[in-house]
Symmetry: C2
Subunit: 291 residues, 2 copies
């Protein structure tokens, strides 16, 4: 990260028509660019309503290849705006093999790569294990012209492991395209704060910027809660949206990352030789020494 | 965790005299017990001032064996109060081999085990790498009569790896005996919030209770900032102290852990086969597929 970067996060509501959604998203991206953004990120699966709330094989017809129609349009937008663009789409590899994928486009429209959602939920309203194969892209960090960037997706945000791996690979910003909200009767006390605290913790423990860009609006009983935000490397929230459509801007400062990492030398003191249990699904405690 | 547990955290200031400190700590523990605490935890190295702020071989004379004098007194306190007690002490194994160790005493005074600080800092004010061998106790979870308990120490709190390993081993509460504060001229914007957010994040990602018990007071230019707190499994702070000596109480509810874990099925969706880089000190990103 050579100089400060202005991040533009497109918090938007989606309607039933795909073309309208893409055009609306692109219009908001142009606004972001006019206001100074040079890195623009869309919410998860931003071209349509959140089809994962129901289990219907017909939705697989929405999937497309990468490169492919939407990816190419995102490349055109990157070229038009001379901005790095991150889009999220339903990726089709072949019949029966689909991923939930973020693509990264350089300012000249080059496709730098893709990052497939690694952790797939299956919860009321999020029937994603039906649609998506768990990602096989490992945890790529994209060396863009602006900064070193990681683009995991939504549910990945609850897991400390990806955030740590991105940190070990030198990521300066982790941004999570998201689609998260509430269903009627959800028993959470403060869902937004819980969601944000998990990611603010990643920012602190790994000394990097963390952001999430969410959709808003009601979609057949689900209310997507927005609250797109950016946290700096000490965990402080430096920009936050409400629950309306908007472009959220934040300035990311490379000096702050360096300063935080040398103040809090966490990377120096890790003890990987003691972390073997992280590679297990469950672990047992040794009997205590005094037993 | 069979029934709710009342946690009592002893936030205290330390003077120059060891006997006075121990008696003061025990008096606060008795207060905690009278107010209902059945699990009582002391701050890091609570029997004395924080000697790690200077580098002096004479301080090694403070170290003692486990079991040993302070450990035995803690056992007596546990027996007297019929409470589970966690103490933190400077453990001597032999000349030149010392650990920063938390001990867990059952309600009948039995020494359940010890947990040696795994991550050792070396920063202005915290010259700990001079005194302490990095812990060799792995990450024990103690099956106490009250709940399944992990007792890492201070600097361990900044690392997501231990918190996750405790979660994988079924811990219901992680409590960090701590000694953390500020030095004149510290450049942190909001040190307390950064510290708390890291641990609140551990609570959310691992769906368990997290607490830290800190010392207070000025010790030769270092100001220990207290702010002992307890966070529930959704990250919400349910009890928090200021910067004065006090006993902080919190009620921990077993049903809340179960409810949170089944609402947010993070443990179901981990992908350990993709986490190999966590066992490295640094990692490299694969070249992007499209390169």
């Amino acid at each position: 990260m050579k100089r400060p970067v202005t991040l533009g996060l497109v918090q938007m509501a989606m309607g039933p028509d795909r073309e309208t959604n893409v055009e609306r998203g692109f219009a908001l991206a142009r606004q972001a660019r006019e206001r100074g953004a040079d890195l623009i990120v869309f919410p998860e699966l931003f071209s349509g309503r959140f089809f994962c709330r129901e289990l219907d094989p017909r939705h697989t017809a929405l999937a497309e290849s990468v490169p492919g129609p939407l990816c190419d349009r995102l490349a055109g937008l990157a070229r038009e705006l001379e901005a790095v663009v991150v889009g999220s789409l339903f990726e089709r590899v072949r019949d029966g093999v689909y991923f939930n994928t973020a693509v990264v486009l350089e300012r000249d429209g080059t496709l730098l790569g893709r990052s497939r959602k690694m952790h797939i939920p299956m919860d009321p309203g999020y029937l994603e294990k039906y649609y998506f194969t768990p990602g096989d892209t490992d945890y790529p960090v994209f060396r863009t012209s602006l900064l070193d960037l990681a683009v995991p997706t939504c549910w990945d945000q609850w897991f400390p492991e990806p955030a740590r791996i991105y940190g070990l690979k030198g990521a300066e910003l982790i941004v999570y395209p998201s689609a998260i909200g509430t269903l009627p009767g959800d028993p959470y006390d403060d869902a937004v704060d819980t969601w944000r605290v998990a990611m603010r913790g990643h920012a602190v423990c790994n000394a990097l910027y963390v952001a999430a860009v969410n959709r808003v609006g009601d979609e057949g009983g689900m209310t997507f809660y927005g609250h797109t935000f950016v946290a700096q490397p000490d965990g402080r929230v430096i920009a936050e949206a409400g629950e309306d459509e908007q472009v959220l801007l934040a300035r990311l400062d490379p000096d702050r990352i360096a300063r935080t990492r040398t103040l809090s030398l966490f990377y120096r003191d890790r003890r990987p030789e003691t972390y073997r249990d992280l590679l297990r699904q469950v672990a047992e405690s040794e009997p205590p020494m005094e037993a």
